[in-house]
């Protein structure tokens, strides 16, 4: 809402500079975007072109002698319309215009001591300028006083604040509402609006009927004004419309906009001669057609409120009028509509067709008292500025609530909620400034009470005018007290609540810490990806979740895996020559299953390039480093000995290398996957894992307990066996574990070898085995016996032989 200071001064007597006004409004909750003069130009003066000759060295420039009262200036001007006798706006040497500063100078050998201006050069927006100003310099009336300030002369010495209002303050979308708000801030009265006009003796109700056949219109008023003359609006109306951001059209259209700005009530004017003696408000029929005044044919639905002439739709209520009934240059008789339509319905229709000054006011709610006020105000202005003849009476439908809202509130309640001590007198004073009536013991207060008169009073009743539709409960009144009295003096304290221990998600924090300790960087990425990537790394029976109305195709689907996001991050880094990437992310992934939507907490990681393994040990990332990270994490979370890596090709997604990937199984339940990204997707070796944290963490683990350490020395034995290449290390380890018995406490692989000395299709695996007992030192015989048993079983199960 753009507030013209000149406009609002009609209703409240304020005298503060525009910045102060804007800041004071901000303090009571009304933020602003900008506060400045309507036209930002200095050192301007009205002049008269006394002589105007063609420039000797130019085919379009003129050399003028311009009388500015105190002297006659030589000025070179390029405008096609400059001519002798014209009254012009002269920007003097040193004048600062929005886009340039004027300096005395020589133009092609001719002295020029200023500039003749168009309105555009003074900062008037292009859409408000007329054709003369768009192509040349502004032409002032011939009686404009030489030597005076042209902006003041034109009545455009206005200042404007562009407010960004909160959604509840629909009342501030009017000059009157602003006047009340400023009146409360500066403790000023609000002046009455002039609604006086004459009426002729033909009653509208004899020839015109209003019928409302929907609950979505609470009040509909119509008045007729005859014999109007279409013409220009007076300058002050035009200037105020411009200051408010509305383009002047002609006196009649301008009046409807002007009154909307003043009262907040949108009006619609019909050419009365195009109507059939009746207006009906109803819901549109499904598929009903209407040509709106922008010339487009609209197909309506049962959700749209329409105005009809009894036969067909002639306008979309509150949103846009119809083409057939609009005001034209030939219009003689006007029907003024002043009505309130349901905000939710208007919002829906206007979202599809046009959000306008009018529709946004309906959406935020209106005061039916203003519906009457606006009707009379428009009639008055049509009489005054369009020579109209107001027809007697109002055709109306009204089931609106015009009454004030009465709210009871206790002084204690106010102080309890605000947490401060405001005297009873100060509370009353806030309501006086807001022009709310207050009843004490059922008697209307004259606001003369002193604190001692109020000693025994605990509660008051506040009568809130309908214009403040945002106030309906006592908490709203408390807010008003806080707003106008100010809450700067509140002394902050902490809530007095019983002490207790707070809690947070230790597990996620632990996982994050562990991954960071392992050397990975945490990332945070967008969950919205494109529908192609969203399918990556998923192989289950769920569907993807996509947006109804995405902003871009690149982000139209919710990720089902975090890995596509990590791949994007990898690509981003690769493009910036960051070769070593080791990243992880904990976040949500989304799915749809049998019409149900759900989300899963997951952890995913991606590793490529070199990775630091402890101290000064840099190694190119491979499958085993990744596997080590997964194992470290699972061990950390207490799943040691309960996980395995399973190869089930049909369960692996297509995006992983089929020979370098596995599923992660905990308690024989698949919780995730790890492996190399398929070379078709990423040429370089990139390794990833992802674990469904909800599924994993659902598996209970016991409390961490200390395990006794043997007091007796342990014994290490190395064992190298030769087996078929396709036998996995895990298969061998399982046998070793079984054969080694309880005294075998550790099995480590320290070498895998193929090549010279080993038959083809065979490999050698070397293990370091640790034996120990809790109660005694093992003898050599016992250990040798174990080794023999292990070798025997390996031979039996896997045909393994000892490596010579």
């Amino acid at each position: 809402m753009k507030l013209s200071k000149n406009f609002v001064k009609d209703y409240v007597d304020i005298d503060v500079d525009i910045k102060t006004l804007a800041e004071d409004m901000t303090r009571v909750g009304n933020e602003y975007d900008s506060a400045s003069k309507l036209l930002n130009a200095t050192k301007l003066v009205i002049g008269e072109v006394k002589e105007c000759e063609m420039h000797p060295d130019s085919d379009h420039l003129h050399v003028c002698k311009v009388d500015i009262g105190s002297e006659v200036l030589n000025i070179v001007c390029g405008a096609p319309n400059v001519r002798k006798g014209l009254k012009v706006i002269v920007a003097l040497d040193g004048a600062v215009l929005p886009e340039k500063t004027i300096k005395r100078g020589i133009i092609r050998g001719q002295e020029s001591n200023g500039m003749l201006c168009s309105m555009l050069e003074l900062g008037l927006e292009h859409k408000y300028a007329d054709e003369v100003d768009k192509t040349g310099i502004h032409e002032l009336p011939l009686d404009a006083p030489i030597g005076e300030d042209p902006i003041a002369y034109m009545g455009m010495d206005d200042e404007v604040v562009d407010f960004e209002l909160t959604a509840n303050r629909g009342d501030l979308l009017s000059i009157l509402g602003m006047a009340y708000e400023l009146g409360a801030i500066y403790d000023k009265n609000v002046k009455e609006i002039d609604l006086s006009h004459k009426e002729n003796s033909e009653n509208i109700n004899n020839s015109f009927k209003v019928e409302v056949n929907t609950d979505n219109c609470s009040i509909f008023l119509a008045r007729k004004v005859k014999n109007i003359k279409i013409g220009d609006s007076p300058a002050y109306i035009k200037n105020r419309l411009i200051a408010s951001g509305i383009r002047p059209i002609n006196n009649v259209v301008d009046i409807s906009n002007y009154v909307m700005l003043e009262t907040g009530q949108p009006l619609h004017f019909y050419d009365a001669d195009t109507l059939k003696g009746k207006i009906e408000v109803r819901m549109a029929k499904q598929g009903e057609k209407l040509f709106t005044l922008d010339g487009k044919e609209r197909t309506l639905s049962e959700e749209d409120i329409v105005i009809s002439d009894g036969e067909r739709a002639i306008g979309l209520a509150g949103v846009m009028g119809g083409l057939d009934t609009e005001i034209t240059d030939k219009t003689k008789n006007v029907l003024i509509e002043s009505a309130i339509f349901d905000g939710v319905k208007i919002r829906k229709t206007s979202k599809e067709i046009l959000r306008s000054e009018a529709s946004s006011r309906f959406e935020k709610g209106l005061d039916p008292n203003r519906t009457y006020m606006a009707l009379e105000r428009a009639a008055k202005l049509l009489e005054e500025y369009a020579d109209g003849e107001v027809v007697e009476g109002v055709a109306k439908f009204d089931k609106s609530d015009l009454q004030n809202r009465e709210i009871e509130i206790s002084f204690k309640n106010i102080n309890d909620v605000l947490g401060m001590v405001i005297s009873k007198k100060d509370v009353l004073d806030v309501f006086r400034r807001l022009k709310f009536e207050v009843y004490i013991d059922g008697k209307k207060s004259e606001f003369k009470e002193q604190e001692k008169d109020l000693e025994k009073i605990e509660k008051i009743t506040v009568s809130v005018p309908r214009r403040r539709g945002d106030i309906s409960i006592k908490e709203d009144l408390i807010e008003e007290v806080g707003r106008i009295y100010g809450v700067d003096n509140i002394v902050g304290k902490l809530p007095e609540m019983p002490m207790k221990a707070g809690s947070f998600d230790k597990v996620t924090r632990g996982i994050r810490n562990k991954m960071v300790d392992l050397g990975l960087n945490e990332t945070l990425s967008y969950i919205l990806v494109n529908d192609k990537e969203a399918k990556y790394f998923t192989k289950d029976d769920t569907e993807l979740v996509s947006l109804l109305d995405p902003m871009t195709e690149e982000r139209n689907t919710l990720r089902h895996s975090i890995l596509p996001s990590l791949l994007k991050i990898y690509e981003y880094n690769k493009a910036r020559s960051n070769k070593d990437v080791a990243i992880f992310e904990i976040g949500k992934a989304f799915y749809k299953k049998q019409e149900e939507y759900g989300e899963t907490n997951k952890i995913a990681a991606l590793m490529t390039g070199d990775f630091y393994l402890g101290v000064d040990n840099k190694k190119q990332v491979d499958f085993y480093i990744l596997k080590g990270i997964v194992e470290e994490l699972l061990d950390y979370l207490g799943y040691g000995n309960r996980y395995s890596f399973v190869i089930k090709e049909d369960k692996l997604p297509d995006e992983v290398h089929p020979g370098q990937a596995a599923l992660i199984s905990v308690n024989n339940d698949i919780v995730g996957l790890l492996g190399r990204v398929h070379p078709v997707l990423e040429k370089e070796p990139v390794y990833v894992f992802e674990i469904d944290l909800d599924k994993l963490l659902d598996k209970k683990v016991g409390k961490m307990k200390y395990k006794e350490i043997s007091k007796f020395p342990s014994v290490k034995k190395d064992l190298a066996v030769v087996v078929d290449k396709n036998i996995t290390s895990e298969e061998i380890a399982t046998i070793i574990k079984k054969a080694g018995g309880s005294s075998l406490s550790r099995i480590e692989v320290f070498d895998v070898y193929t090549g010279k000395g080993i038959e083809e299709n065979k490999k050698s695996i070397a293990y370091s085995l640790t034996f120990e007992k809790m109660d005694r030192t093992l003898t050599d015989e016992e250990i040798n016996e174990s080794i023999e048993k292990i070798v025997e079983m390996l031979n039996k199960k896997h045909g393994a032989t000892l490596r010579k």
């Binding site: 909750g29 959604a167 905000g343 939710v344 919002r347 309890d416 909620v417 605000l418 401060m420 409960i473 908490e475 709203d476 408390i478 807010e479 806080g482 809450v487 700067d488 509140i490 002394v491 902050g492 902490l494 809530p495 609540m497 002490m499 707070g502 809690s503 998600d505 924090r509 994050r512 960071v516 300790d517 050397g519 990975l520 960087n521 945490e522 945070l524 990425s525 967008y526 969950i527 919205l528 979740v545 947006l547 109804l548 902003m551 982000r555 919710l558 991050i569 981003y572 880094n573 960051n578 990437v581 080791a582 990243i583 992880f584 949500k588 989304f590 939507y597 759900g598 402890g614 101290v615």
Partner: protein
């Protein structure tokens, strides 16, 4: 006898001068062998005591031992000196160039937004708050309706949403968790929670990201007032951004609180004098807050005549940007490892 005594003192003088002249431990040892060894010169005097008169023996014996002790202690002193010199030499030999590059032990880093979340969590947990979370794929009911924002409410425009269906959407605000927390509390007992998390709005420009993070706070009890809100936010803002900061409450409007306030904090860059960060106002808007709207209490099972509460919410992206001096929000989501690596530092 006199002769013997002279001989002893002569030997002693000779020995001491040799000790003095010794330049290393080995030479000292040679002196020891020469005079004090089994075949040493002083030792041999003792050996020849048999040829002395019995009354002379103790006198000569005493003299010899005196001389031995003196020589021995001098040798020891010399040895100590040489040992010290040897150690100093060795240390010098072992001196390295400490300016050579270090051996790296690389650790990962937490994402700056999660660092902020952890810091906020720790602060509020220390005041007895519980950290709660809720779904990001939320229902219209919890995201809006239970927060006093019925369908068609104009304030919904403030938060243009990503809908999945007419009922499901990506949550636009962590406030959705407020309703969930109140509903989940079956005894309708006092509440003290914060809920950090991701939120989504149809908004993408230099200062907005369609995905961002918020933290929400909710306290419900009997007799909770705006003063409690102010005090709590003072602790929050001062711990996160700086101890000497002041707060300013500016009336505003949120459908789920009444009264509602935007909270400005005195500019932590210029101290309130006015600078480009605070656009010359001296204040920076950091939070939205207010007293829980009675409709919200009622809709979620709390009796507004008995209970009051406050709620606040703030954008963590901006907080992270302020705290770490990040000027472009996109850096937070690009995840350049050169950016991420910088966050492996304790922020004291």
């Amino acid at each position: 006898m006199e002769e013997k005594i002279n001989e002893i003192s002569k030997l002693k003088e000779e020995a001491l001068s040799e000790v003095n002249a010794a330049t290393n431990a080995k030479e000292l040892d040679e002196v020891r062998v020469k005079y004090l060894g089994k075949k040493g010169e002083l030792t041999s005097i003792l050996r020849s005591m048999g040829s002395l008169a019995p009354e002379e023996r103790p006198v000569i014996g005493g003299k010899v031992n005196e001389a031995r002790d003196e020589i021995d202690s001098n040798i020891k002193l010399g040895e100590e000196k040489f040992a010290k010199e040897e150690l100093a030499r060795k240390l010098k030999e072992e001196t390295i160039d400490i300016t050579l590059p270090s051996t790296k032990v690389k650790r990962g880093s937490k994402h700056p937004l999660n660092r902020i979340i952890e810091e906020v969590e720790d602060l509020f947990v220390s005041m007895g708050y519980d950290v709660v979370t809720g779904p990001e794929l939320e229902t219209d009911e919890y995201c809006f309706e239970r927060l006093n924002l019925p369908k068609g409410h104009p304030a919904r425009d403030m938060q243009d949403s990503f809908y999945i269906t007419s009922e499901y959407l990506l949550r636009t605000q962590t406030s959705a968790v407020q309703a969930r927390t109140m509903m989940a509390n079956e005894e309708k007992s006092p509440i003290r929670v914060i809920c950090p998390g991701k939120t989504y709005r149809r908004d993408d420009d230099a200062t907005h990201s369609h995905q961002f993070s918020q933290v929400e706070g909710l306290v419900i009890d009997k007799n909770i007032s705006l003063a409690d809100l102010k005090g709590t936010l003072e602790v929050f803002v001062r711990k996160m951004l700086g101890e000497n900061l002041e707060l300013r409450f500016r009336p505003s409007y949120f459908p789920f609180t009444e009264p509602s306030y935007e909270v400005d904090v005195s500019c932590f860059k210029c101290g309130g004098k006015g600078c480009n960060l605070c656009k010359q106002t001296g204040w920076i808007e950091v939070l939205g807050s207010g007293m829980v709207h009675p409709n919200v209490l009622k809709m979620n099972g709390y009796d507004p005549d008995k209970y009051t509460g406050f709620a606040f919410g703030t954008g963590l992206d901006r907080l992270a940007m302020f705290k770490y001096g990040i000027t472009d929000i996109r850096l937070l989501y690009q995840n350049d490892v050169r950016f991420l690596n910088q966050f492996d530092r304790l922020d004291r």
